[in-house]
Amino acid sequence: MPKHYRPAGKKKEGNAAKYVTRSQAVKGLQVTLPLFRKMCIWKGIFPRDPKKKIKGNHQTYYHTKDISFLHHDPLVDIHRDIRAQDKKIKKAYSKKNKPRAVRLEEHKPTYNLDRLIIERYPRFIDALGDLDDCLTMVHLFAALPTLQNEKVEVKHIHSCRRLSHEWQAYISRTHKLRKTFISVKGIYYQADVDGQKITWIAPHSIQQVLTEDVDFNVMLTFLEYYETLLAFVNFKLYHSINVKYPPMLDPRLEALAADLYALSRYIASRSKEQDNHELASQVDESQLTLAQLQHQLAPSEPGALMHLIEEAETVDEADEETKECRSLFKDTKFFLGREVPREPLLFVITAFGGTISWEGDGAPFEESDPSITHQIVDRPTQNHMFLSRAYIQPQWVFDSVNARIILPTEDYVVGRVPPPHLSPFVDNEAEGYIPDYAQKIKQLQDAARIMPVPEVGNEHQDNTQNIVLDGVADRIEANKAAEMKKKMSAGQKQFHDELKMEVEGVSPATGTIKNVKVTTDPDESDKEQISEHPDMSEMTMSRRKRGLYESIRINKERKKAKVDVIESRKRNIKESQK
């Protein structure tokens, strides 16, 4: 239609021109309603909420531009062809012309959603940022039973299982898992891939109940799109660690439902091969550069050279958090009992650098292995107890992972009610209220940090890390004003200061960081002062900022009131107990 021509009765501007109702859109596109709904989901088009609802409040509105965007998609045409072919097939069957029907069936047009993925996520990082919903859906369908009347086929469930295992294998291999939280609904995981925080829920391994208010047609449409997306993401991720995709698995392990283990073994073997190649080349290169550098630098500056070498080492290594995660369970060996959920634990423990085995065929090592340090069990009586290992409940693993330290196992011994499982997604300092157990964990963390843990390999590097961490710890301590701690750490501090002096001689950069950190504290206190006396600055604020400020203030007050209530309750309880 040319631009200047507008049919009679059609509006030129305003909400009447910008939005169309769903039935109008379906009519305009000349597609069926189910196809329209499918296309909307695939293309990422959602209903809008116009200011004026011209056709009434009970209608669903879409933006005109969204509809024209749909109109130009080749998928619409393909689906029209498919529909026509379906009609032909039906006709052939009803005419008892089976060979024709079969032939038509073979030549049915097919479609794929690859183009839509690049259209919706032009960059890889966009896709990673939007992976939450995708992962949750795939994990959910991996745990669903097949439903004949809902068209949830075995094929879907198998592909979902495979995709979710591939994803988990990648995360655990690269040690990208950060937080876990077991809730009633399922297990929350949070991973950090390329700076994107990805959160997903995996259901508990029990039979899922399907309530009647879920439209599985819609869910399956979403699933179709998400399967394609996750396959592409997995492909990219696997290739980034030099592993072939799709992976070929050991059929014996697959048959024993130990896909995740099979996958991790596959990845390990593949990347080892690659690593060997790469290491050889890397060593050559680094030696070359070293020789060059030695020529360039004056012989009086060995420190600078050392620093350079260190940098070269850290470049190919992952960031600090990943390192911390990788080495958490490094010296521990786990054995799972029959009654504990195997897959989540396999995933979490390997993600944090532990080795693990379980009861059953195809397991890496036997229960009687003397090097096992922890056995995870969840029933009150054991057949045979080994004295050399700790028998703990599965919650210990999740709590240790969240706290990033190996917690003492006494509280988690079988038969005892373990301490509460706290959510790592809550920022206690912002909330104001710190549960008792969180305080205890904090103390343990501080103790672990202060304890010097010199390692054989790269002692120097670790010490510099300790100093930076110590800076953070210092600040926390100052806030808490824990005098006891200060006394204890005085000696430690002196030791670290000395070390710091040494390091500053080598690399002054870390020293400056420290200085900056110290100066930030007064700034923060200034901010607080401002917030207490806001009248002056409030006058000069813009309207929007003032509103924002007001809402922040109200929020703070609310939180404070909440904390007060909780604390007063606690006090009352304590008094009544006395």
């Binding site: 990422g44 909420d49 939450d132 609904k185 929350y188 309530t211 492909f235 409940q393 499982h421």
Partner: protein, 363 residues
């Protein structure tokens, strides 16, 4: 005999064909007419190879169009003058389109080649990188909302109480709402059906009412007649004295009104600062109202979607363990197993799906 033989010879002579001679004669005469024999002429003179490109016959209009106008020739001669495109935006759009087409073409190639999910879709090499933008999410609500710490399988006492209180409050709200609803119309009404005699009495009552109305109407007409008579008696002739009086009075009133007007005006001028203050006050109020509305709207959008269709979004009940259900053991956990519903509700909550009615599943 001799005569016979001669006859025979003559007959034989007659039988010899003269076609050759005839043909020759014919040819000779034709050549003489056309101006030379074709056989002897060289082929170049007979045929011409058409080397010019095939040019269609031009119409008059096209010829006219080809004509270079004076200003064009002037511009053409100047190498520093560049042609200005009519609209830069349009051109850019066109370029984008061509890029898209190229991409589509490459996609088509891919369709035959690698299987879906088995090639690097974000690989920029060899493909035109479209500078597309990621589509914005419809709502501020995250895809996966982390539950409060009270929903843990082994929660801390305080946070569990909080979450439980929230869940209980939700349930109580539902109950109160049901209680406060107007009573439904009962299916059966206690009492006896109205008999025919009673109905007759009821009708009679109704008739009585009609009589009263009639009476009222009669009274009204009487009143109207009286009024008309009064009006007639009042209408009398106006004398000049009265007229003058009236005129004078009118003028006086006019003067008074003017004086009053001036007074009012001066009063209003005096009260300008007050008015200004009032306006400022009103503006402030308006602004505050607007701000409040904006904040409220944003808050609302954070907790749920806008109204997108016939039905309102109803959040799923939160999943908290009861106090007696907390065992601290993962094995004995009485977990909820409705993650499918949770996902579906999340889609509805984020405004991607339109909330729909509950449907009964065919089992």
């Amino acid at each position: 005999m001799g005569k016979n033989r001669a006859k025979k010879v003559k007959r034989a002579w007659r039988n010899i064909s003269t076609k050759e001679f005839d043909d020759y004669n014919e040819k000779a005469t034709r050549d003489a007419n056309s101006g030379g024999s074709l056989a002897s002429a060289p082929s170049d003179s007979l045929f011409v190879v058409d080397k010019s490109t095939d040019v269609p016959v031009r119409r008059k209009i096209e010829k006219k169009r080809e004509k270079v106008l004076r200003f064009e020739s002037v511009l053409q001669r100047n190498p520093f003058v560049k042609a200005v495109p009519s609209s830069i935006l349009k051109k850019l759009k066109k370029k984008d389109k061509t890029v898209d087409l190229a991409q589509d073409a490459s996609k088509d190639d891919d369709k035959k080649g690698p299987e879906s999910g088995k090639f690097d879709i974000w690989d920029d090499q060899g493909k035109v990188n479209i500078k597309g933008k990621k589509k914005a999410n419809p709502s501020l609500i995250p895809a996966v909302e982390v539950e409060p710490p009270g929903c843990s399988f082994n929660p801390e006492n305080e946070s569990h109480k909080d979450s439980l209180a929230l869940a209980v409050a939700e349930e109580m709200k539902k109950i109160y709402k049901k209680e406060l609803e107007p009573e439904p119309i009962p299916l059966t009404v206690p009492g006896e059906p109205v008999t025919e005699d009673d109905r007759y009495f009821l009708e009679v009552d109704h008739e009585d009412d009609d009589d009263v109305d009639e009476m009222d109407e009669e009274n009204q007409t009487e009143d109207q007649i009286n009024e008309d008579e009064n009006r007639k008696s009042k209408e009398k002739r106006i004398t000049t004295v009265v007229k003058n009086k009236r005129i004078r009075r009118k003028e006086q009133q006019k003067a008074e009104a003017e004086a009053k007007k001036i007074k009012d005006l001066s009063k209003e001028i005096d009260s300008i600062p007050d008015i200004l203050q009032e306006i400022a006050k009103e503006d402030e109020e308006k602004k505050n109202r607007h701000l409040r509305r904006m904040v409220a709207k944003e808050e609302r959008l954070k907790s749920g979607p806008p109204r997108l269709g016939k039905r309102k979004f109803e959040p799923a009940p939160s999943q908290v363990l009861l106090t007696e259900e907390i065992t601290g053991s993962l094995r004995k956990l009485k977990a909820c197993c409705t993650l499918a519903r949770d996902r579906f509700k999340s889609l509805e909550k984020r405004g991607i799906l339109v909330p729909s009615a509950k449907r009964s599943r065919l089992v």
